[in-house]
């Protein structure tokens, strides 16, 4: 039972497995910390252009989104097409919390932290509720149902009204029947979303969130759970036959991923003065999927670099803005063809001058 041995490694085996893995993890942390230090230094000394400065927080948010989706797509091997839905849940609940706590907690970083935790909590709950039906399915069916859930979440937030006045919270669906007392404030206004958000997201907060996300994901991946995820991904039937509860382990990966995405959504939302549900649509889910696929499934550093590069690139190539999505589509198709077709893979290996020498087998 090779698979069982793989999951229940003893300490010595675990250490030897970790040594190869540890270098990769260390490099990822180092990359994130060094980039943060450089960018923060440039930001303080004022050498960073204002457009770059404005992109720092979205880059952090997208990186966290990519890392969390990579846990589902790369490590546990399930295609989720509704990841933006969790971002949306986190963004709306987190921002609403921040608005409610505005007078109670004057300290902005603390308020942001609480908002992100609330966002992560609600997104995690959403992930759990969605996971119950979704994770019983597999393959294409699972993908289409996550897509359906993404659309449902969008529809719900597009028709949700939430307001607060002296008597407490008022919520309604479809039409605004909250009837707030004077002095009350509408928080979520259906298709208009949340407006007049105090922008309290900072680059430092984004950096900390990314580090936390990486620590959670790496520790999960290199634990017994992570090895179970990979065993399920590589051979579901074999994993099932040694008595692993597939649904339970998939659920752990799914909920963790959803919660991290929720925190990222909150960070993302609090960087803008208005957000609305249509911002987190199917296109956003695909965009994050592109980050994961381009960076390499299961490769967290790759996800972060892809997220950063594909956020900066369109700004730098403004004159080609129309061709941006076309380029993304081509990147997706080409990456898949190159990495999955032996003929094309061989062709690229042949023309790559930096290729490693093939070891004779």
């Amino acid at each position: 039972m090779a698979i069982k041995k793989f999951i229940n490694l003893n300490l010595k085996q675990r250490l030897s497995l970790k040594r190869t893995e540890a270098k990769k993890i260390f490099m990822t942390y180092l990359f994130v910390i060094v980039s943060f230090a450089i960018l923060q230094g440039m930001s303080i000394t004022g050498t960073l252009s204002s457009t770059m400065e404005g992109m720092l927080i979205p880059i952090c948010a997208y990186s966290v989104m990519a890392v969390s989706l990579n846990l589902v797509v790369g490590i546990s091997g399930e295609l989720s097409l509704g990841h933006a839905g969790f971002m949306s849940v986190g963004a709306f609940t987190g921002t609403a919390t921040a608005i409610l706590l505005q007078n109670l907690i004057p300290l902005a970083p603390l308020r942001l932290a609480i908002a992100m935790m609330t966002g992560a909590f609600f997104a995690g709950v959403a992930g759990f509720l969605i996971g119950i039906p979704v994770l019983r399915l597999k393959g294409d069916y699972l993908a289409i149902v996550t897509l359906a859930f993404g659309e449902i979440i969008k529809s719900i937030f597009n028709n949700f009204y939430l307001g607060v006045d002296d008597y407490g919270l008022h919520a309604s669906m479809l039409t605004d029947t909250t009837n707030l007392a004077s002095g009350g404030r509408m928080i979520i206004q259906g298709p208009i979303g949340i407006s007049r958000i105090a922008k309290i997201s900072t680059f430092t907060a984004g950096f900390i969130l990314l580090m936390i996300a990486l620590i959670i994901v790496f520790n999960l991946v290199n634990s017994r759970f992570g090895r179970v995820f990979m065993a399920i991904r590589d051979d579901r039937i074999a994993a099932e036959s040694i008595g692993l509860n597939i649904t339970r382990f998939k659920m752990i990966a799914f909920v963790t991923s959803a919660a991290i995405a929720g925190a990222a959504g909150c960070l993302f939302a609090m960087n803008y003065s208005t957000i609305f549900a249509n911002k987190f649509d199917f296109n956003t889910s695909i965009l994050i999927l592109v980050f994961v696929v381009l960076g390499g499934q299961g490769n967290m550093l790759g996800s972060i670099i892809a997220a950063a590069a594909l956020t900066i690139l369109p700004e730098k190539l403004r004159e080609f803005a129309d061709y941006r999505m076309l380029l993304y589509a081509l990147i997706l198709i080409m990456t898949m063809l190159i990495s999955n077709n032996d003929g094309i893979k061989y062709f690229f290996q042949k023309i790559n001058p930096f290729r490693k020498k093939q070891e004779a087998e």
Binding site: L137, D140, I152, M336, N341
Partner: protein
């Protein structure tokens, strides 16, 4: 009477979904892949039809035939370039490629024809038959849609169950290796499946835009997803299942739109899909396949 009106509208919408879903379900049956780009082939077909009729003033049927031809060729090209190299790849890779193709088609359309909505001229004259002193009105396009759908459904069933090529298709969907050993050209058969599916998508595009006349580069994507939903609902791979699933989904959508809320109708449709998949994971008429180790 309004109930009956809604019901007929639902059947009409369901018929359009059924024509789209046929393409999905046939491709899924034979290539075991979810062709995400199918919805965008509908949109391309509708644009070709639009330009033929409104810009070049050609008769409607010429426009539809032109759209069918172009979409058929497009379907074959896409299959050859993007999907054929991935025949042996894991399904996740194929699905991501299909999403990429969908994006490619959408954004090419955006660049060629801009995002401004076009007003699609219906392929037959507007008008309606009135019954019961005008309380029940059935428009010409509704009748044309339902008739076309039934005709296509019968023709396709006969083709798949009676002809040699249909037999080859069934053989390929059962076991590609064995089919090849029996002398069936598997690649040509898969190409044929894509060609038929894409041709039907063009017809669906013309009918869809005749009933709902605004045409944009994203027109096809939501109907495409819903048609796939309906195909899953009825049991993917099964043609009668797709037909039944689509008619039911069309009726549910129109009822949800009329009696609950037009904004929430999509959510209702998707919720129904989720419930069906939970109760019957293989769909209404699908068969459960046992996994072999």
């Amino acid at each position: 009477m309004t109930f009956l009106n809604f019901f007929i509208n639902g059947i009409s919408l369901g018929s359009i979904y059924a024509i789209i879903a046929l393409g999905y379900t046939m491709v899924y049956g034979i290539a075991k892949m979810l062709n995400f780009a199918h919805g965008d082939v509908i949109m391309i077909g509708a644009y070709v039809c639009f330009y033929a009729i409104s810009r070049y003033k050609l008769p409607a049927f010429v426009g539809v035939i032109g759209a069918v031809l172009i979409c058929t060729i497009l379907g074959i090209i896409v299959e050859r370039l993007a999907y054929k190299p991935l025949r042996q790849a894991p399904s996740l890779a194929v699905l991501i490629t299909a999403i990429g193709v969908s994006y490619l088609l959408q954004n090419s359309a955006l660049l060629m024809w801009s995002s401004n909505p076009k007003f699609f001229k219906p392929i037959i004259a507007r008008g309606a038959f009135k019954f019961f002193d005008g309380q029940l009105s059935i428009s010409h396009i509704t009748i044309l849609t339902i008739a076309t759908c039934v005709l296509i459904m019968i023709a396709l069933s006969v083709f798949i169950n009676r002809s040699r090529l249909g037999k080859a298709m069934r053989a390929c969907s059962e076991d590609k290796g064995a089919a090849q050993l029996m002398g069936i050209n598997v690649n040509a058969t898969i190409s044929l499946t894509f060609a038929i599916g894409s041709g039907l998508a063009a017809i669906a595009g013309a009918l869809l835009c005749s009933a709902y006349p605004t045409l944009t580069p994203t027109t096809g994507s939501l109907p495409g997803i819903k048609a796939f939903t309906a195909a899953v609902f009825g049991g993917i791979g099964s043609i009668p299942g797709a037909f039944l699933g689509c008619l039911m989904l069309g009726v549910i959508e129109i009822f949800a739109k009329s009696y609950i809320s037009s904004q929430l109708s999509d959510a209702v449709v998707f919720a129904v899909l989720i419930i069906v998949l939970l109760v019957k994971p293989a769909g209404l008429l699908g068969r459960m396949t046992q996994e072999k180790v």
